[in-house]
């Protein structure tokens, strides 16, 4: 990958998360801490999945197996971070300068979801970026030129999805809405397994489905966080 390609892909994948970080996270130290903590928990889940992959020698080549358990671990850690955040709510309230964090529980879920997403997107893309130093692009033996752009778009959708999932998941845990929890785990599994199709270069199919799910999940998260079609109309018409 060449330098312009590198920057193009980086901007596509990390431009929107960076904007979110700048406008909604960066001005509150507590949110930064929670973001980093969430990222750390995602890393722990990665560690566990890789240990499992490493131990299961005969199944190392079967990516679907690794993907399935990785999703399971990620969702477990999402639950763990939910428990931790809820149990430390009191403490947070004491140290928070800005009480909005504790007053609106969706903020906590949004911040931790973004932390989950950013680190997961990074790991998805950095692996690709690391192999790309040099003057070439994809397509000599297989693959297309669009591989890098596709990877970047994929990473972006995963980052956004994690944010939405956390909002839905935390709320569902609060309200014992098992349907939502099932939706989060199910769509996560589905999206992850969908990426396996990229090996056969069905980029349009996977990306399109991916983004449809992202939009649907986004809408659900919007509803959960208190948005309605009426408020959206008001927002668009600048009332």
């Amino acid at each position: 990958m060449t330098l312009p390609e590198f920057f193009g892909c980086t901007f596509i994948a990390f431009g929107p998360p960076f904007a979110l970080f700048v406008f909604t996270i960066a001005n509150d130290p507590l949110r930064i801490i929670i973001l980093i903590a969430a990222a750390f928990f995602w890393l722990l889940s990665l560690l566990l999945s890789s240990l499992l992959w490493f131990a299961m020698i005969p199944l190392r080549d079967v990516l679907a197996f690794g993907v399935f358990f990785s999703v399971v671990f990620q969702e477990c850690f999402r639950y763990i971070i939910y428990r931790i955040l809820r149990s430390t709510e009191q403490g947070l309230q004491a140290v928070a300068e800005d009480t909005r964090v504790t007053d609106n529980k969706h903020i906590l879920s949004y911040v931790s979801g973004l932390g989950f997403g950013i680190i997961s997107g990074m790991f998805a893309l950095v692996n690709v970026l690391a192999d790309m130093s040099g003057p070439g692009t994809m397509g000599l033996q297989s693959g297309t030129e669009l591989f890098f752009v596709t990877s970047a778009a994929q990473a972006l959708s995963i980052i956004l999805l994690h944010t939405f999932w956390s909002v839905i998941f935390f709320n569902a845990c609060d309200t014992n809405n098992y349907l939502h929890i099932a939706y989060v785990v199910g769509s996560h599994l589905f999206v992850s397994l969908l990426t396996l199709l990229n090996a056969s270069e069905l980029y349009t199919a996977t990306l399109l489905t991916n983004y449809i799910i992202t939009i649907l999940t986004g809408l659900l998260a919007f509803r959960v966080a208190g948005g309605t079609s009426r408020s959206f109309k008001k927002f668009v018409t600048c009332q």
């Binding site: 390609e5 040099g134 693959g143």
Partner: protein, 700 residues
């Protein structure tokens, strides 16, 4: 409901399909394919740099196959998507074409690939018309580059002494060539106008050379006091000469280290030849015709004399001896012979650790130098002037060459003039034009002089693989089933003639025996040096049970200090073995201190032998003299640049359009997301209306 089940089934199938084909694979392996080949590298002399270097990060060029000369025009007349990397077959790798590529500049031509398709090749020599012109006798008659009839390498293009602004990479393996061709055909070889708009198959060659300008500059930079990292920019070309005598010399006593005491009245006939060869590419180039034929003849002569001559005490003059020397680094301004002359002049040969009496120029009776013998029907005996010595040797040589008893049927002519071939004798004649140097050299007929194609095919070598004892001398009628015009028989004939003439010179009697040199020895010798070092001759000349040679020919480039030095090592062993006397009475355990050495021998059972061979240094005196004037041209100043790696790989180079599109999409996404997020966060209280009042400014 049924539709849903169908849809789910289809998704499941696709997922299973994906799971079956998705395998962990490095992205890099899908993007790049390494190409194995040999690189051209940079050498420097006192005033210039020659050879090639890539840019520091590696040179990248779009592949373009050149089949006919007209294909080059496309690259030279403002190509659509420069820079390009032409793949040139050897018959188009000419001086004219290369100079045009240089002229096109590095922005158009960044890499040149030489592909091994020799079908149409008629000649391929990139040495100068006058090899080693500036270290030979300074006389227009010696060699005139403008006149092909009298030059010593009429087919030479001189490209070996050009400085290229791009790397040149030689790809020998047909599989690698087909990889390149496939890639070129698939991605590049259509619709040339749209080259700028699509991804093209390109090659990256990394061969960055750290030295620049000249030996003077790079040696100064290496020695510079501020060079704290201790990095080396260049190394002098350096090797080892191998010498041996036909009769063992007395070990000098330790006290006799004073030069006056050590000088003796020994008389030596010097028989010399060249050990090394040269080519444009690293590690390729066997020098079969340009130097190996000479080396094989020297070896045969040595062996034959060892077998034929009576003991030294029974010679008419028992102070006489024959000294065989093979000079290393001769391709680069006679490094080995210049050093030999320098050492002998300064009473430093042999070096004191050899514990033999010194040899001075007074000890040398005459020198017989074996040059290039491309065509044995046209051998001439060269000398500066027609001395009685030259006449006598010529008459002796022809006596045996034309004798009906042996049936060699050769006629050796003579040329007594300044038209002297570029051989080691030049270094001796340069010091003293009266030095009695005689040179055996044939009319130049080697169209592949100093090139990668001077190989077994060039000398028409077919391995006989007779498995017979090569150390025994056969009768003249016993040709061991080799054809009369085979390389083995040619070498047998010439070396027999030379050895018989030397026999007559030493003993004063005509040789009347019927034993001649063994063509099997020539057969084994060429097999070892041209095809595989894992061979019977090298095995016989090694210690019993020592590790086998590599199944490839030894490298014969002089190289630098710490280089492989394979060729001098094997020559040392082979000369040692063939020029030694068997000592059947000495057991293996007592046969450990030189000059006694234990060899495996032909049968591999092991035998103790009294040897005479040794090494001497072949490092140019220019690097020994303090404040040497690099421009003086007195001594060879060749150095070789250091480099960290040679590598080449092919890949798809993205078009500019693709790069710019990706970058612009990225920037647009970034800007749009900043705007959207800012608007949402500034008006979040409207969007999320169900929130408690205190949370209205959610994203503050």
């Amino acid at each position: 409901m049924e539709k849903r089940v169908h849809a789910a089934a289809i998704w499941l199938l696709m997922l299973l399909h994906g799971a079956a084909f998705a395998q962990g694979e490095r992205t890099r392996d899908k993007m790049y394919q390494p190409i194995v080949g040999a690189g051209c590298f940079r050498r420097l002399n006192g005033t210039h740099q020659t050879g090639c270097s890539s840019t520091h990060a590696g040179s990248v060029g779009v592949l373009h196959l050149i089949n006919v000369e007209a294909d080059l025009e496309f690259l030279l007349a403002s190509p659509p998507s420069p820079p390009y990397a032409p793949m040139i077959p050897p018959h188009l790798f000419t001086r004219r074409n290369l100079l045009r590529l240089i002229e096109a500049g590095p922005s158009n031509i960044s890499v040149v690939l030489l592909i091994n398709k020799p079908e149409k090749m008629k000649q391929f020599s990139h040495e100068l018309n006058c090899p080693n012109q500036y270290s030979s006798l300074n006389n227009s008659e010696t060699c005139d580059a403008s006149n092909p009839a009298t030059s010593w390498n009429p087919w030479g293009t001189g490209l070996l002494h050009e400085d290229f602004p791009f790397p040149i990479y030689y790809i020998a393996d047909t599989e690698e060539i087909s990889k390149l061709e496939k890639c070129f055909l698939k991605f590049n070889n259509f619709n040339y106008e749209t080259h700028a708009l699509r991804s093209l198959c390109a090659i990256e060659v990394k061969s960055f050379m750290s030295a620049a300008v000249s030996s003077e500059v790079c040696i100064r930079r290496t020695r510079f006091i501020n060079n704290l990292s201790g990095s080396k920019y260049c190394d002098p070309l350096e090797g080892r000469n191998v010498y041996a005598t036909v009769y063992p010399r007395n070990v000098s006593s330790v006290e006799a280290e004073e030069t006056e005491l050590a000088i003796t009245s020994e008389k030596f006939i010097l028989v010399t030849c060249r050990l090394d060869t040269a080519s444009m590419f690293d590690g390729v180039g066997l020098g079969a015709m340009d130097s190996l034929v000479g080396l094989s003849i020297l070896t045969q002569v040595a062996h034959l004399l060892r077998e034929l001559l009576p003991p030294q005490s029974s010679l008419p003059d028992n102070r006489r001896n024959v000294l065989f020397v093979t000079f290393n680094g001769e391709s680069y301004d006679y490094i080995g012979s210049q050093r030999f002359v320098y050492d002998v002049e300064r009473f430093a040969f042999p070096k004191s650790s050899a514990r033999r009496n010194l040899i001075t120029f007074d000890n040398i009776e005459f020198m017989l130098d074996i040059g290039t013998l491309d065509d044995i029907a046209n051998i001439k005996l060269h000398a500066l002037s027609g001395t009685p010595l030259a006449q006598k040797l010529l008459q002796q040589l022809n006596n045996y060459a034309q004798s009906p008893r042996y049936g060699f049927n050769l006629n050796i002519q003579s040329e007594m003039s300044y038209h002297i071939p570029p051989t080691s004798a030049q270094s001796f004649l340069r010091r003293d034009p009266k030095f009695p140097a005689l040179i055996l050299n044939a009319k130049p007929a080697n169209k592949y002089y100093h090139s990668i194609y001077d190989d077994a095919d060039n000398v028409v070598f077919n391995y006989g693989n007779t498995s017979q004892d090569f150390t025994l001398l056969p009768d003249v009628g016993d040709t061991k089933n080799f054809k009369a015009d085979s390389l083995q028989m040619k070498v047998r004939n010439v070396s027999s003639i030379v050895a018989m003439a030397l026999y007559e010179t030493l003993t004063g009697k005509e040789y009347t025996g019927s034993k001649v040199a063994n063509p099997v020895l020539a057969d084994e010798f060429f097999y070892c040096f041209l095809l595989s070092a894992d061979c019977p001759l090298f095995k016989a000349a090694s210690y019993p049970g020592s590790p086998k040679g590599l199944p490839m020919p030894p490298m014969r480039y002089v190289s630098v200090l710490g280089g492989p030095q394979e060729s001098s090592g094997w020559t040392y062993r082979v000369l040692g073995y063939l020029l030694s006397q068997k000592q059947p009475k000495i057991p293996k355990d007592n046969c450990t201190i030189l000059p006694l050495h234990y060899f495996a021998g032909f049968n591999g059972v092991g035998e103790c032998r009294l040897t005479t061979q040794n090494y001497s240094s072949a490092l140019s005196p220019a690097f020994l003299i303090d404040d040497y004037d690099w421009r003086s041209g007195n001594y060879s100043t060749w150095t070789e640049s250091t480099w960290s790696l040679f590598s080449a790989r092919i890949f798809l180079r993205p078009s500019n359009v693709h790069q710019v599109t990706t970058l612009s999409v990225g920037i647009v996404v970034l800007i749009v997301s900043f705007c959207v997020v800012y608007i949402i966060s500034s008006r979040s209280e409207v969007l999320f209306e169900d929130l408690p009042a205190s949370n209205a400014a959610l994203f503050g």
